[in-house]
């Protein structure tokens, strides 16, 4: 292909958008590699310890948008100690010292300090978009810096972060000249907000499309905001509580009628169910509804609301909806593609939970379903088989039975056959989470049928090393494997060590893997970081026969990381 000038190649590559395709393009030949890397603007780094900022900057000088992920997924569930790592500071420092004109930064499960945010806000004149998901380590002081210094900020999206709330003052730090906001999401902030500043900000942001408020924003303010921003497409309410007989509520009802563009609705952290009728007119056009934090809506009010939402494609809900409520979803939401049912009482005995019946009803009514996260009281093989038949299009299938080793309650059998049916029928399955009583058989089925599987989550499952080996051997596209409390040991870990260089990472905790096994692996595979997390005996090394509490291994270009805390030991 030497007879094409570089500009032509570059133009062609412009149409190649996805990271994977661009990565593939760059492997064709040296010329393509060079043209591709010089023209690449968006880079996705799935594990921040797989490479260094310097490598990134050297390879992609035209970088504008960077996505970084830090801690392993199980950190979401408190399985990773607090100071494990995942700091964004070195990245921001390196980028700010370079000539990179960063415009967008998206971080997930990383530690972000106020210092980092401040540096970020001062280093890139054209910075436009900051998205933080499940991050921690910063306060509203850092947010104030972003607000004050990023003159062309378009997007500030904070999703489920642990933020120390020092004051609502940060909102006032957006200068009067800032009129470029398109998306603002501060729903996860716990503290008070300067309401007047918020209203003024909305009033001077004509391009605002997405606004998600926190609990501190009352209904009166919502009313005022919607008056000024009827063009909103995505709305997250704050506190949705008021007297339905009041003037304010009446005004809201009329204002909402003007908001014809709202397609995404969320929030309702606090809700007075008698005020819900005001939103019925929006429900007709909703494609996405997130009520997973709306503990105050249940029973008949919830069902009444759902009956209005015939065009829903994505629904996040609490399990207090019950099986009967899911039947209503199934008969109303024929376009449903993604469903998440969260437990309303994660520690309780689940009086109002859902069972296999709700899921089967959904599968019958919603054949377009391709993504599922379902926390339930119980599941049967028969139900899973029915779901597999009705919905062969699953891409993501995550089932969580609240009692993690519960068998099929009707037959008392393990759920191997049910999950086997899912992987056999859903040929495009990329992500799978298992639960319930499971033997090695389910892993045999996964290895046989789940050809597109990229991520597998296993807990309290399997009988022997064979289980893990079936998966490692059979799933050619496997990228992430995370296992807890399952009897897989050194034989499973060491039989095919080369496999791990084809994967992003492997997590094993409370399994049968020993220190000796991990050492052997680390020795044979120098391009992997094999990290042992031992919280209880930090400095004691112990014998090779000792079982390892938590092991996290990942491929990397840059060897053991230098920021590992005391309790993390890279072999």
């Amino acid at each position: 292909m030497n007879y094409f000038p570089d500009e032509v190649l570059e133009h062609v590559f412009d149409f190649v958008a996805s990271h994977r395709d661009r990565n593939a393009v760059s492997l064709v030949c040296r010329l393509w590699h060079r043209v591709e890397r010089l023209s690449r603007q968006r880079v996705f780094v799935g594990n921040c310890y797989a490479l260094s900022p310097q490598i990134l900057i050297a390879r992609f000088p035209g970088l504008k948008s960077l996505t970084l992920k830090g801690k392993p997924h199980f950190a979401d569930f408190n399985l990773v100690p607090h100071d494990w790592g995942g700091y964004v500071q070195p990245w921001i420092e390196a980028l700010s010292n370079s000539r990179i004109g960063l415009e967008e930064l998206r971080l997930k499960r990383m530690v972000v300090s106020d210092e980092s945010l401040e540096l970020l806000s001062r280093s890139f004149a054209n910075f436009k978009s900051l998205v933080l998901v499940s991050c921690e380590g910063f306060t509203t002081v850092g947010l104030a810096a972003i607000a004050a210094n990023c003159r062309f900020l378009r997007e500030l999206d904070l999703q489920e972060n642990e933020i120390d709330d020092h004051s609502g003052h940060w909102l006032s730090c957006f200068p009067d000249s800032c009129t470029s906001l398109i998306s603002l999401n501060f729903a996860c902030l716990k503290g008070e907000i300067n309401l007047a500043a918020l209203e003024r900000l909305v009033a001077r942001s004509p391009n605002l499309r997405s606004l998600r408020l926190n609990r501190a924003v009352p209904l009166e303010t919502l009313q005022n905001i919607l008056m000024r921003a009827p063009q909103l497409v995505d709305l997250g309410t704050g506190s949705y509580v008021h007297d339905p007989d009041s003037e304010t509520y009446n005004k809201l009802k009329h204002t909402i009628l003007k908001c014809k563009s709202i397609r995404n609705l969320s929030g309702f952290l606090e809700v007075a169910p008698r005020c819900l009728p005001a939103i019925y007119p929006i429900c007709l056009n909703l494609t996405s509804l997130n009520l997973s934090y709306a503990a105050g809506i249940h029973g008949s009010e919830l069902v009444k609301l759902i009956r209005h939402c015939a065009k829903l494609q994505r629904l996040w809900i609490l399990d207090c909806i019950g099986d009967k409520g899911l039947e209503v979803v199934a008969s109303t939401c024929k376009e449903l593609q993604e469903l998440r049912v969260f437990p309303s009482d994660p520690f309780g005995v689940g009086h109002a939970a859902v069972t296999e019946n709700g899921l089967v009803a959904i599968s019958v009514g919603c054949p377009k379903l391709h993504s599922l996260l379902y926390f339930c009281q119980q599941m049967t093989n028969a139900a899973l088989i029915a779901v597999a038949k009705n919905c062969p299009n699953f891409i993501r299938f995550r089932l969580c039975i609240l009692d993690p080793t519960k068998p099929d309650p009707v037959t008392m059998q393990p759920l191997d056959n049910g999950f086997g049916a899912i992987v056999q029928s859903c040929k495009r399955l990329r992500r799978l989470s298992l639960s319930g009583l499971l033997t090695d058989w389910v892993f045999l089925y996964i290895g046989m049928y789940a050809e597109q599987l990229e991520m597998l989550s296993v807990a309290f499952a399997g009988d022997s090393d064979k289980g893990m080996l079936y998966v490692l051997n059979g799933c050619k596209k496997l990228r992430k494997l995370e296992i807890r409390d399952s009897p897989f040991g050194n034989k499973a870990l060491l039989t095919d060590v080369g496999k791990y260089e084809t994967m992003r990472s492997l997590w094993m905790s409370s399994c049968e893997v020993t220190l000796g096994g991990c050492k052997t692996l680390a020795k044979e595979m120098p391009r992997l970081n094999v990290e042992i997390i031992n919280e209880h005996d930090q400095m004691e090394i112990g014998s090779d026969e000792q079982r390892v509490e938590k092991m996290y291994l990942y491929r990397t270009l840059v060897g053991p990381r230098k920021d590992a805390p005391e309790f993390v030991w890279t072999l």
Partner: protein, 238 residues
């Protein structure tokens, strides 16, 4: 009984043909996508070889017969087999030690969900059943008492003690019988307290249960320890 799982030969790959024939009971399975459906049709008597951890047996013990479950308020109740029969959903084995990181709910969500709902029981003397209110739903005593008024269908009478603190004492009156109710609550220590003495947020933190006590009994329980006021005596006589 299903045969032992095949050994894995990494170099040659798994011999799938061989294993496919052995999935399920002999004679029942044809090849192809419907194999799993046929498996369950006849497999109710099939039992897989026991797992290392013997959970199937343990699970059977837990699901039949008596099971214990833990109430929201921490008390432990026993549920008999006969009660179980009425339930379409098997009660989960209860009172387990909580497993770290299970169920896999993001810590952020977990924190929000466990804090956001503060349901307390409300009893009214003489009413046949109790109600529940979520204290997080209200910002003030006024709102709470209005809600209670809605719930128990009696209007609120604002009632002022001249020597009382900044807060008007509220009473509820049942219009049909003319009986007044004094709102009280049980705090963390189990003591019966008059609603309204402490700031609202402090009340929400410490309130475990609400009790609407009939006016005449309230006098005996709440007013006795206080210094009697001449006006108080005349007011409480109604």
């Amino acid at each position: 009984m299903l045969p032992d799982l095949p050994e894995l030969d990494v170099s040659g790959g798994l011999n799938f043909k061989e294993t496919e024939l052995t999935l399920g009971l002999p004679g029942e399975i044809g090849r192809g996508t419907s194999s799993f459906i046929q498996i369950t049709a006849g497999s109710s008597s099939a039992k897989l070889t026991g797992t290392k951890r013997g959970f199937s047996q343990a699970a059977m013990d837990l699901n039949l017969g008596r099971s214990f479950y833990v109430e929201h308020d921490g008390s432990c109740c026993e549920q008999s087999e006969s009660e179980n029969e009425d339930l379409s959903v098997a009660k989960p084995p209860a009172a387990k030690a909580q497993i770290v990181g299970w169920p896999p709910v993001r810590a952020f969500r977990r924190n929000v969900m466990t804090k956001s709902c503060n349901l307390v029981k409300v009893s009214m003397d003489g009413a046949p059943y109790l109600r529940k209110v979520d204290l997080e739903m209200y910002d003030s005593y006024q709102q709470l008492l209005s809600a209670l008024e809605d719930m128990f269908s009696c209007p609120t009478i604002p009632y002022t003690y001249p020597t009382r603190n900044y807060l008007d004492e509220k009473k509820l009156m049942d219009p049909t019988s003319g009986v007044e109710y004094v709102p009280t609550y049980e705090d963390k220590d189990g003591d019966l307290m008059l609603v309204g003495d402490v700031p609202w947020k402090m009340f929400v933190e410490s309130c475990k249960r609400l009790r609407l006590i009939k006016g005449s009994e309230a006098i005996g329980q709440l007013h006795a320890p206080r210094t009697p006021q001449p006006s108080a005596a005349s007011c409480t006589s109604t």
